[in-house]
Amino acid sequence: MAKTLYQAVVGIDFEGLKPPVRVEPGEAIPEKASAEDIKWLLEQGHIKKVSPDESESDK
């Protein structure tokens, strides 16, 4: 089954990742982002689910 893809709505700094990752609006969320981060980022509308053809990796 294809992995769920997420896209940033606002700029996000993932400082807990090694190395830290900065994601600008419209860019894909790193796959190694934690499920907890994904959950609250989604809840607050800071990221959104996208279909594979909308994702940054397909551009």
Binding site: V10, G11, I12, D13, E15, E36, D37, W40, L41, Q44
Partner: protein, 243 residues
């Protein structure tokens, strides 16, 4: 132990100026009206708290020399038609220290000339809507020489009614300087989301950005400064007040 605070720790910013070197007194007031709700059956007056209000009074020395970029006279005497971004700090501007924010109209500029004394200045400020808001410093008035972020401030819990950020840039240097100051928030002090961005500073300037009512502001806040152009340094102070 006596932990009383010395007023020598207090500082005041007004737009792109640090006006602390001119001042002898900062008097921020937050107040609330009290409405009489007594009725025929009351046995004594009964009151209910209603609208909040506030004001900011400043007293200082009249000086024509410009030790902070502009004198009190330069900033306030014309009773400007546009609001001044005033931020008071009772206990230094260090990150996490309390900040008192006002989007201020100048209501009075009063000189006091008395024989055998220094000429004094009294200034009364008020705000059209948000009176004096209680916040925290997110960046001391210090110089930065490259892109980076400030220490985070833990509010203990998230809030859900937006807020306001202020930015006072007293100096910026470089061939073609440009620095963007943003405020970020976080639930875990590790993953940071952009909350707001001030207009890029290309000269000494100021900024005030409101976050809409109903917006969640997460538990942790910090400031991020991003250098662009050919900037060698920027000296600025920023603060944020939750609503």
């Amino acid at each position: 132990m006596n932990s009383a605070l010395l007023s020598s720790n207090s500082r005041v910013m007004a737009d792109q100026y640090d006006i602390s070197p001119f001042l002898q007194k900062m008097n921020p007031i937050r107040n609330r009206d009290y409405a009489d709700c007594s009725t025929l059956v009351s046995t004594s007056h009964e009151y209910t708290p209603v609208l909040r209000g506030g004001s900011f009074a400043l007293e200082g020395l009249y000086r024509t020399n410009q030790i902070a970029g502009a004198s009190l006279q330069d900033i306030f005497a014309t009773l400007p038609d546009t609001q001044i971004i005033v931020t008071g700090y009772p206990d230094t501007r260090a990150v996490g220290k309390p900040a008192l924010l006002m989007y201020a109209d100048v209501l009075k500029y009063n000189l006091d000339n008395v024989v055998a004394d220094l000429v004094k200045v009294m200034i009364d400020l008020s705000s059209q809507k948000w009176h004096v808001e209680h916040g925290v410093s997110l960046h001391d008035l210090t110089a930065e020489t490259g892109t980076g972020n400030g220490t985070s401030v833990d509010n203990g819990a998230a809030t859900t009614n937006g807020g306001v950020s202020v930015f006072h840039c007293t100096a910026i240097a470089g061939a073609v300087p440009s620095v963007v100051v943003k405020i970020q928030h976080s639930t875990n002090n590790s993953t940071w989301v952009d909350l707001l961005s001030h207009t890029a500073a290309t000269a000494a300037t100021k900024g005030r950005v409101e976050v809409a009512a109903g917006t969640t502001i997460n538990q942790y806040l910090r400031e991020v400064h991003t250098f662009g152009g050919t900037t060698s340094s920027i000296t600025f102070n920023s603060a944020f007040a939750r609503r």
